[in-house]
Symmetry: C2
Amino acid sequence: MENFEFYSPARLIFGKGTENTIGQQLKPYAKKVLLHYGGGSIKKTGLYDRVVASLNEAGVAFVELGGVQPNPRLKLAQEGIDLCRRENVDLILAVGGGSVIDSAKCIAMGVCYDGDVWDMYQQGKAIEKALPVAVILTIPAAGSEASGDTVITNEDKALKYGYGSPKLRPLMSVMNPELFYTLPKNQVANGVTDMMSHVFERYFTNTKSVELTDGLCETVLRTIMHNAPRVLKNAEDYDAWCEIGFAGTVAHNGLVGCGRAQDWGCHNMEHELSAIYDVAHGAGLAVLTPAWMTYVWKDNPEMFVQFAVKVMGVDGSYREPEAIITEGIEKLRAFFTAIGQPATLTELGIGEDRLEEMARKATHECFGKEQPIGGLKKLYWQDVLAIYKLAL
Amino acid sequence: MENFEFYSPARLIFGKGTENTIGQQLKPYAKKVLLHYGGGSIKKTGLYDRVVASLNEAGVAFVELGGVQPNPRLKLAQEGIDLCRRENVDLILAVGGGSVIDSAKCIAMGVCYDGDVWDMYQQGKAIEKALPVAVILTIPAAGSEASGDTVITNEDKALKYGYGSPKLRPLMSVMNPELFYTLPKNQVANGVTDMMSHVFERYFTNTKSVELTDGLCETVLRTIMHNAPRVLKNAEDYDAWCEIGFAGTVAHNGLVGCGRAQDWGCHNMEHELSAIYDVAHGAGLAVLTPAWMTYVWKDNPEMFVQFAVKVMGVDGSYREPEAIITEGIEKLRAFFTAIGQPATLTELGIGEDRLEEMARKATHECFGKEQPIGGLKKLYWQDVLAIYKLAL
């Protein structure tokens, strides 16, 4: 096990009716909040009205900024930063999924920074301060409700970059799984895929003697895979939604990756797809992950045997590891297909023409200083290109 | 799944050499700390000198109070409270195991409270404030390094009571598994038993649809049971100690109990043994837990089948659940014996004479208002007495 720090201070407030307590919860921390949300679905479902009522009742003032898109845009966040400064906002309340939360974190640090907030994403600058962020989660997926990470798309440059700091971990996250009932099936599938990938990126490692976190990863993955078909079959299965929602948080609050070298190759490769083609992050991951596994497993076959047996339930002869591994990858592919995900880049409308450009961007090769991505196997731009091609 | 809040803000700083950073870690939070420790083993091992050097180097002043005993005493904590007030201490640094940390928490809240700190334990009063507590862990066991709980023995009244508040969760906990190399084998066994019990108390529940936390509990238990014999065989097995140490924290930081009705019957029954006979908490738990299982399993046989199969690895016919359950309990008993724990109260030198007194105290029956203990099965004083007798 490697040395590590684990710090996950976000208070998770979980269960039926919890969103109606948001005003009381925020009162000790904020006089005026920015209510930040997406395309307006929270108005259709009545959530917006309940949140506003709760804030009013508690005497917490607010200004609002809606319009966050999937793959959240830098420009809107910059608008939010100006608004917060003008209005003396002291806390950002994100009501939505990962995109809204990531946008909120971008605003939260931008308000406290003198330059352009893109500096952080571009240069990885450390931040000294950020406004607190609170969350009401409407899409279980990104795990952003517990993490200190944010991913933003710079639409002018067609770049999608991530940034992380412990100072960006939300103060609190409210999760009522009933709010997930109205999600369209493709968003459910994308969310499930994303949270599985958050575990995969930590699970697949060359670090040895990480038995506890191996087991935690495996149980989170099995729980997600058992419950995803249940919520897709019955959108109002509260118990199954509880498992999915809670698993999505545990998948990304840092715990299951403690003491392990991590990978993040698939996430990095997928960000290029989303930046150029604006495909859903989950759909991109569903296509790339099995291709990545096929490309890299020979670098650590023992790890992939363990995955096949303990996560995918493959029951074969350990004397034929390749057969076990291949069956594990096939079963994962079949799972993604069963929840409605595409299996190829072609299905996503992506052809060969820009693969090389994306591979060079993913590894920063095109910026003159190549940084290989991935952990279990270091991926240079030629490797990334080969994986994209396997996924066609 | 039941509604829940999960809040575990303690920063875990884990791995080799981490104790030498304590001065730097504390500097932003404290001008003067109380260095609180036990019987002086930290002086023999050189840990005391390293901690003092780190504090001096960072310019963090300190006063000290040693002498914490296992089953920590109220009187010493009261002495610590006076000392902290006199010296304007602003943070308590506990260097030790659960007893030292629990004593530190008692001091931390006592300093900020006008009356007698025993009020909290006796009456369960809510606290408004406490000094921050930091920890350097020397015994993986109690999980107190992540929890908001403290247990104190009032030696005048022969009462051992617990108290919990989110305000008592440590600010940070430093864990270098190398510090565990010098622990005597019986302390290792007691620590392992205690952390297993922290999971059991959460695992055994009648709450349904708690698949994720079921799985988390099971993987923590399997990890502990796999690695305990390894550290008992080779006291310097760093990898195995990492698993045990980290598992002890996860067992008690609240995560594995989220959304579940919990039990705590065995802990409550054991506190009576420790209060009267001053037996080690872990030894008491090792004796009582299998007896408790034997007494209660008929109230939820499905839960105990799951335990036998998924935790103890019993591979029998599901058409004979009683056989599976009995084998599971026997395997647990055998595990405790293998790590050197006693199997009966008799081995602990405890006879029949005070069992009824303890049963009436455990349930507060003797104070005129009986409060049954336990969750999976409510235990009245006659039930507790029956379990004590089964354990003779």
